[in-house]
């Protein structure tokens, strides 16, 4: 179900933007747009399949925990 939600979110968004904002945009803008959208899409699809991706918080808490004494 989540996969369908993700696809039905991205598809209309891209079609809409392609017909409006992206039409007037330069090559560079389009490339950056495509790369970020692709990264987000892949992450959300993995999330919808319940494939765990390491969270940046793991690294952040480890680094901060080693520098400061934090009681949780």
């Amino acid at each position: 179900m989540l996969t369908v939600i993700v696809i039905s979110l991205f598809l209309p968004e891209i079609i809409y933007d392609y017909n409006t904002a992206l039409k007037q945009a330069g090559k560079r803008e389009r490339r950056i747009y495509a790369v970020i959208m692709l990264i987000s899409f892949v992450i959300l699809i993995l999330y919808s399949f319940k494939i765990t991706i390491p969270s940046p918080h793991g690294i952040i808490t480890k680094v901060i925990g080693s520098l400061f004494r934090i009681e949780t």
Binding site: A25, M37, I39, S40, I43, L44, Y47, T52, I53, I64
Partner: protein, 365 residues
Amino acid sequence: MKRERVTFNQAMFSIVLFNFGSSVVMGVSTGVGQEAWIPILAATVAAIPLFLIFGRIMQLFPEEDIFGIMNSLFGKTFGKIGIALLTWYAVHLCALVLRDFSEFTQISSMPETPQLPIMILMILTTIYLARSGMRNMGKWSLVMFFFVSLVVIFTFLTAIPQAQVDDLLPIGSHTRAEYFESSFQIFSFPYAETVIFLCLAGSYEKKDSPYKMLFYALFITLIVFVLVFLRNLTLLGPAMMQTSYFPSYVTARIIGVGDFLARIESLISSNFLFAGIVKITACLLAASKGLARLFELEDYRILVLPMGMLAMALSAFLYENTMEMFAFLKYYPYYAFPFQVILPLITWIGCEFYVRKRRKESKLG
């Protein structure tokens, strides 16, 4: 970059609602229970020098945001490192607030609904607002500030008959380290997060004093935080307030006026929604502007949607559960400190040197 103009009131109320953001619902309760008013005041005092720095940067470069300032002060390489760091912080903060919101909605009213649809609804709204520009965010803030304040005042007044004033005592029962830790927590979340508005600077009217704008916002935020704290404490008591994930929401569930007015917790949810929209929109705008500056693009608006999607993707896998989310609050001040204090501090020092050099040159020339 295209310029939009935001009025004094729009900018000020945007900052106020940005500060309310998640704090009004998550409460400003800290590890010191009934004495949280002490860290709230201490954090406000600690925020004054930081806001002076923010104000000074805005005053010295009224037409530029912090990204532009970094670019012209530190050159291409170091400037871009600074821009990349602040852009990351803006995306991350956006993801954090989005996750706070979806966790809150799931816990309070939709336990069976997955968080993703909730996040989608929220992020699409904020993307729309961010694409409409700073000015529209300012207009939204101006209107919503009165609603949010009315809710806080209303819940505070209706809580008075049930309030237990004794809960404010005893005073001085915690160690200095505990007070310091709590103050640091409130200082970084939400006060120092105002650094995001340096990324949006350059849109404020030149005649308006940035100091006035920042300090009025700080003062209003302080008053609301104290009211929220007093309401939550006197109704829930220190122990319950500390153990609740969303003390404001729990407090509102208890409040009842006679037999006819009860269950007003939806008002608290709407507060989170309206203020949260401003916070996420501001972060999205900052992230999009930062990325546009990083890649030297003319218009940031085209990047709002991808950045919104990226923030949503990030927020989906940030934590495994609510407990993890609240545990991260202990680490957050240390993590955010370089973005909130060190980067602006370096930029401010650079600004002062740059302006002095320019003045000397113009005197000689």
